[in-house]
């Protein structure tokens, strides 16, 4: 996993709340033997992005010229609810996103995102509204996400966000949490002997 410290990018606004993982990656794109980025890029929000005949829906924000190249998704509450498919954060990463900003996340999505270096940024409702207003007014607005400072900054606004210290250290230093578990193999063996 690459280290993720601070970066600046533009925002794709998708303000609907409760966007579930069947919308993020529809079921029919799930079948893969190993992570397949080309398929995941096509799958991302597929049925909201395309008509049934495959033409792009011009009004969908991802298809708007002003949002091309966005690396930050700004979305409504309870993002990633429903299915626990890890293909949801994979598809976002494969499409160039590095962070998702919302007022809340579904738990399995949040955990899957952190496990893959996609940063779930939980901000207060007022900050989310302010950022949405700023991006709506100026779609190319540059937004900085500063993980060590746990802060989102843009011209005219800023918001802090919480993250547990272990996840933060893993992301900033590029650590894999599996190494922490493997490091404790002895403790795990001792635990197994007590049962």
């Amino acid at each position: 996993m690459d280290a993720l410290i601070r970066f600046t990018g533009t925002v794709l606004p998708l303000p609907a709340r409760d966007i579930n993982n069947d919308v993020v990656v529809p079921g029919r794109f799930l079948k893969m033997i190993d992570r397949d980025d080309a398929r995941l890029r096509l799958a991302l929000f597929h049925d909201w992005r395309f008509f049934e005949d495959g033409r792009p829906r011009p009004e969908f924000p991802m298809n708007r010229p002003e949002h091309q190249g966005a690396t930050i998704l700004l979305t409504g509450a309870n993002f990633g609810c429903g299915s626990g498919r890890e293909k949801a954060p994979w598809a976002l990463l494969a499409s160039g996103f590095r962070a998702v900003i919302s007022t809340s996340f579904a738990e399995i999505f949040r955990s899957n995102a952190l496990n893959n270096g996609l940063l779930p940024v939980t901000v207060a409702a007022r900050a989310a509204r302010a950022l949405l207003a700023a991006v709506t007014k100026e779609p190319g607005l540059e937004v900085t996400i500063d993980l060590p400072a746990q802060e989102v900054r843009w011209r005219g606004g800023r918001a802090s966000f919480p993250i547990d210290s272990f996840s933060k250290r893993c992301l900033v230093r590029g650590w894999d949490p599996l190494d922490y578990l493997l490091w404790h193999a002895g403790a795990i063996s001792r635990f197994e002997r007590t049962r």
């Binding site: 919308v23 033997i33 309870n78 210290s165 599996l178 193999a185 795990i188």
Partner: protein
């Protein structure tokens, strides 16, 4: 009294003796399972939680094995891991190689990975294949007090036995395969108290749909729910599994029901449950898991089961359930702007208008199946309504949850009831719940489904789903429209 002597006096097993809290503060069922599985917890780090049982399924496992191979790791505890094929399998002719090459490759990868790691795979020739959340309980692999994980959000089902069970992602599968442990943080505790006798025509499915309507689809995020109260005690194990299955739809980490005589009776004859004296000793341990008097919950919700009606969803999330006699609600009446926008979007997708009655709404397809409602009692309930009658919908798929369920139905002649009524009698799998295997609802069609999710496109692109109980599904199949099952059961 020393802690050891106290614990012996109250019948706490050896595993709990080493843990803080035993004989101290009053604990919930969740706390007891958590404490007994915490390998270590260092300041500034999540807890290392031991996993007793790891279930693998075809749709999410393969990349985890690739990850293990890339790192040169092996499976630490193959005997604590079982595998099944459920998501991608054809329900018409599962034994024939699947026509889709990717599906074929996924199934072959599941076989090769299981074989290579020494993991027991319940394959289609085992006689015990089925949906993971159906087979682990029916084989007696799911037991009270266990920790159980699977890369499938409906792993919450196993909470019906008083096991801490939850869905994980593929990266976590790799970690559990390598270490038999997970990194986890303690959840808050939510008490869902459900009292009163269920009225005729209502089932566990109606209970959970009503509870989801009350909690909302993010109402339990950060919590583990313990279901308590007289209505929960009165449910069969299959009903409790339906209840716990949809716990995830409220955003909860897991759902739990404390084990009792109903649980022990269910487990007594199961293949992998302890036997003889070992079983009696296990029952003593399992009884001690119940939440102590005076243990505190962070949140509470109450539901009066006696006031329930058969429930059905009108929207595109499982929290949109209303009594089947209700009318489609007006989005304008919802509390927040976000909720109003979601409801308007849902009505447009479902092509429904505020104020119109749900009863009598056209139904094209009925799906009786899934890890929510594909067990023997579910199929018996539906068959009782269908017996001697013909369905009025275009098609009705009946997909038993496992080969065991299928055989039991056939021994009782239920498959004849379904076939005579005009239904399709299929082989076990997840099938039309998520339409991964080719069983799907056509664009624009309405499906009454006994599954757990009515999200846009879940049952196929453009498919429109009404979630309901097996009784409501059968009654609607007989009418060709949304129907109140009480009109057929009285």
């Amino acid at each position: 009294m020393t802690r050891r002597r106290f614990c012996e006096a109250v019948g706490v097993g050896a595993a709990a003796l080493a843990l803080p809290g035993c004989g101290g503060r009053a604990r919930t069922l969740y706390d007891k399972i958590w404490d007994a599985h915490r390998v270590l917890e260092e300041p500034g780090y999540p807890a290392v939680l031991y996993v007793d049982l790891h279930l693998l399924q075809d749709n999410t496992s393969s990349p985890a094995f690739h990850g293990l191979r890339r790192r040169g790791l092996s499976v630490r505890r193959p005997e604590r891991t079982i595998a099944t094929i459920d998501h991608t399998l054809s329900t018409t002719d599962p034994a024939r190689p699947h026509p889709d090459p990717t599906t074929r490759a996924i199934i072959e990868a599941m076989r090769a990975n299981s074989r290579g790691a020494g993991i027991r795979l319940f394959d289609i020739d085992s006689g015990q294949q089925g949906i993971s959340h159906v087979i682990a309980p029916e084989l007696g692999l799911t037991q009270p007090g266990m920790t159980i994980v699977c890369a499938d959000s409906h792993t919450s089902t196993h909470g019906a036995f008083g096991a801490l069970a939850f869905g994980i992602g593929t990266t976590d599968v790799e970690r559990v395969l390598a270490t038999q442990c997970l990194l986890a943080s303690r959840s808050k505790r939510l008490e869902a108290r459900i009292d009163g006798a269920l009225p005729a025509g209502c089932t566990a499915k109606d209970v959970i749909l009503a509870l989801l309507a009350k909690l909302g689809i993010d109402g339990a995020v950060g919590h583990v729910i313990e279901y308590r109260g007289s209505a929960v005690r009165a449910l069969s194990m299959e009903g409790r599994m339906t209840l716990c299955n949809m716990t995830i739809e409220a955003g909860a980490r897991a759902g739990l029901v404390a084990p009792d005589d109903t649980t022990f009776e269910y487990l007594a004859s199961r293949e992998h449950a302890p036997r003889g004296r070992a079983f009696d000793e296990a029952v003593v341990r399992w009884r001690a898991l119940a939440t102590d008097d005076g243990a505190a919950f962070d949140t509470a919700v109450h539901l009066d089961a006696s006031a329930l009606e058969p429930m059905v969803t009108w929207g595109t999330d499982p929290g949109t359930a209303v009594p089947i006699t209700a009318r489609v609600p007006d989005p304008a009446a919802r509390p927040g702007a976000g909720e109003r926008a979601s409801a308007r979007r849902a009505l447009a997708y479902m092509d429904l208008r505020p104020g119109e009655p749900l009863l009598g709404r056209r139904v094209d397809v009925v799906f009786l199946g899934s890890c929510t409602n594909a067990r023997l009692t579910d199929l018996r309930l539906a068959a009782a309504l269908l017996r001697g009658r013909r369905i009025q919908v275009k098609r009705m798929l009946v997909v038993p949850g496992s080969q065991q369920v299928k055989r039991a139905c056939e021994a009782e002649g239920l498959h004849r009831v379904f076939l005579d009524a005009g239904c399709e009698w299929r082989a076990p799998g997840c099938s039309m719940c998520m339409a991964l295997n080719g069983d799907e609802v056509a664009p624009g069609q309405y499906c009454v489904s006994t599954s757990n999710r009515n999200f846009e496109g879940r049952q196929g692109p453009g498919a429109r789903t009404f979630l309901a109980s097996p009784l409501t599904a059968a009654a609607s199949a007989l009418t060709g429209a949304l129907e109140d099952p009480r009109r057929w059961t009285r």
